[in-house]
Symmetry: C2
Subunit: 350 residues, 2 copies
DNA sequence: TGAGAGTGTGAGAGCGCTCTCACAAAGAGG
DNA sequence: CCTCTTTGTGAGAGCGCTCTCACACTCTCA
């Protein structure tokens, strides 16, 4: 009968309790809790003592009910499998977001839909206003979420530049400049026949990194050649295949820039099979500076991205968007770093 | 003046609204929403129509306020940097948990404390009862969270067997049996001088995998030799160092079992430096079946763990713990799979 | 000295929901 | 025909909080 559920009234104290202990009204306690300046120092001290004594913690649900804010943000990761499991991008970005949100006492609600039906449910959930805003990570071209949610008036920030057609705030790393600096490094190392293994042409990182490669080639006055450009899908196998294809078309290749470390690792093994020595015959540069970059032989020179900082920036933007009244769209582009390792050591002068 | 915040009353409809549209009382609508059987079919139909028409979505905060449940669960990841970024363990386990929770319309609140102060805050947060239960991932020996939270009466499930002294439900993979099967595979391949690069001796996976190695050695009647056991910390560098040390002590080694793929990759490079061919001279087996396993040369044989399933199981256990009234502790151990690749190909018969 | 302008505090309504209790209507059993 | 149950429904309290408003003060400044 008397169930006596252990979890009931886990924290017995309420505003009321604190108020009566401190000999003030609920309103005053509320003011203290929420840091209102309109409380005299003496009363504030009494109330704080009472809060301390009772171990009072405000009830989120009750607060939320009246403020109409959930004090929580959704982070939606729509990624079938690929990148989610193959590089530490997600944990890093999550940690960045988490740091910024917890510092502000905001909840991070994680959503990882993994079927179209799930995506729909996720949309319903977020659009229903259960959260104050949402971060969308890694959306592909046909992702219905951004328009769905911005249509519902939910503050939104994307990680990574969205496909054209979608207008929303986002934070991205400078893929184009990152790729460009990688290729410039190869040129500075004396390489002249530089190929690229690009990412998918329907994904912004794929597009931008290819553009950066072309920038550097053009800038250096090197001849552009479609045979020096092959496409992969960011996976290792695709990198190996692309490398085989490139070598067939241009056996004189002396450097390769791959748009991901995984593809670079694939290129490395294809080069080994083809009997080319790295970096002596062919220099290789990857992208992401993932753990894979240091587990290959030789270790990969790679473009490092400030992923955690990206997460933090995203969170800041989102909080700003929720607090502000204007609906201005912001774009933040963060710079990359080239991390030099053995795979791209300069060619010894002839 | 008239701010007219866009987000106010995002979804104007309340129980009240649905009730008046359907011509019933709030209580009846509530019954329909919560699937009570005590509603006549006709009324139910009317109410459902009204809900549909208004796009009614229950207000979580209001419900939560009265039920004293938040319908949300914390997932706490306390991992400084190491494994968090180096293998896909966390995303996988998170996805498993996420699948199970969203299927039940429960929120996943992610917490990633990264300093002792953060850990304290996290403890306060969870202990305050803002969530109905918590999953703790990857806790080290001195983690204060488990006892703190179980002391506060918060339902708890751990990912991975905890240090002795902590009694809580947990889900783990069978580290011991996984390691054992790896070593048995090496023995079946004709290897006789089998070394191991173990993990830290203060972490359950390190301990259990070493125990599994010893089991297999003993079972096969091979001589146990402390010189065949070296320790690493799961990182690549530590694996390379351990390998150097092992080769110095026992140059006749013909196989190595490493307690992580990263350490196995390190061993691979140390073996290359030492001029040993893999798998011809020395066979290597790793653990985790991470992406690194397929990016080495040769590719690594490795022990695969059902990580996603682990996440699902954890979530199931937690939901059960919250719903049940008893405080019974459950332990679930999941089986592993050995994935055979080139690094451990059998020695050609002499 | 008295109107006006702060300043600190309390009373009380109300956020949207659940849940107990009361009650009407309908059927069951004597 | 009258009780007694069963079943469907509604009235209403109350969860813990915020926030508006009113009110009692205390200062200015003419």
């Amino acid at each position: 009968m008397t169930q006596g559920n252990v979890r009931d009234r886990r924290n017995g104290s309420t505003l009321e309790g604190v108020a009566s202990l401190a000999g003030v009204s609920r309103a005053t306690v509320s003011r203290v809790v929420n840091g209102s300046p309109r409380v005299s120092p003496g009363v504030r001290r009494d109330v704080e003592a009472a809060i301390e004594q009772l171990g009072y913690v405000p009830n989120r649900a009750a607060r939320s009910l009246v403020t109409r804010r959930s004090e929580s943000f959704a982070v939606v990761i729509t990624e079938p499998t690929g990148r989610l499991f193959s590089d530490p991008f997600f944990p890093r970005v999550l940690r960045g977001i988490s740091m910024e949100l917890t510092a502000r006492d905001l909840q991070l609600v994680l959503l990882m839909p993994n079927s179209p039906a799930d995506v729909r449910r996720t949309g319903d959930y977020v659009a229903a206003g259960h959260v104050d805003g949402a971060v969308l990570i890694s959306l592909h071209g046909d992702d219905p979420l951004p328009s769905r949610l911005s249509g519902a008036g939910i503050p939104l920030v994307l990680v990574g530049r969205p496909q054209r057609g979608i207008s929303a705030s986002y934070v991205d790393v400078d893929n184009r400049q990152g790729a460009r600096s990688a290729v410039e490094h190869l040129i500075a190392g004396g390489r002249r026949v530089i190929a690229t293994i690009a990412g998918p042409s329907d994904m912004p990182p794929g597009i931008d990194r290819l553009a950066g490669y072309r920038d550097a080639i053009a800038e250096a006055g090197l001849p552009a050649d479609p045979d020096l450009e092959a496409c992969g899908d960011f996976t290792q196998t695709s990198g190996a295949e692309a490398m085989v294809q490139l070598l067939a078309a241009r056996p004189d290749i002396d450097a390769v820039f791959a748009a991901s470390d995984l593809m670079a690792a694939g290129a490395l093994s294809a080069l080994a099979v083809a009997g080319r020595r790295v970096p002596r015959d062919v220099a290789v540069v990857g992208y992401d500076d993932s753990p894979v970059a240091t587990s290959t032989n030789p270790q990969l020179t790679s473009v490092h991205q400030p992923i955690e900082e990206m997460g933090r920036e995203v969170a800041r933007l989102l909080v700003e968007a929720v607090e502000g009244t204007d609906r201005v769209i912001r774009r933040v582009i963060l710079a990359t770093d080239l991390v030099k390792r053995a795979s791209s050591a300069g060619r010894p002068p002839p």
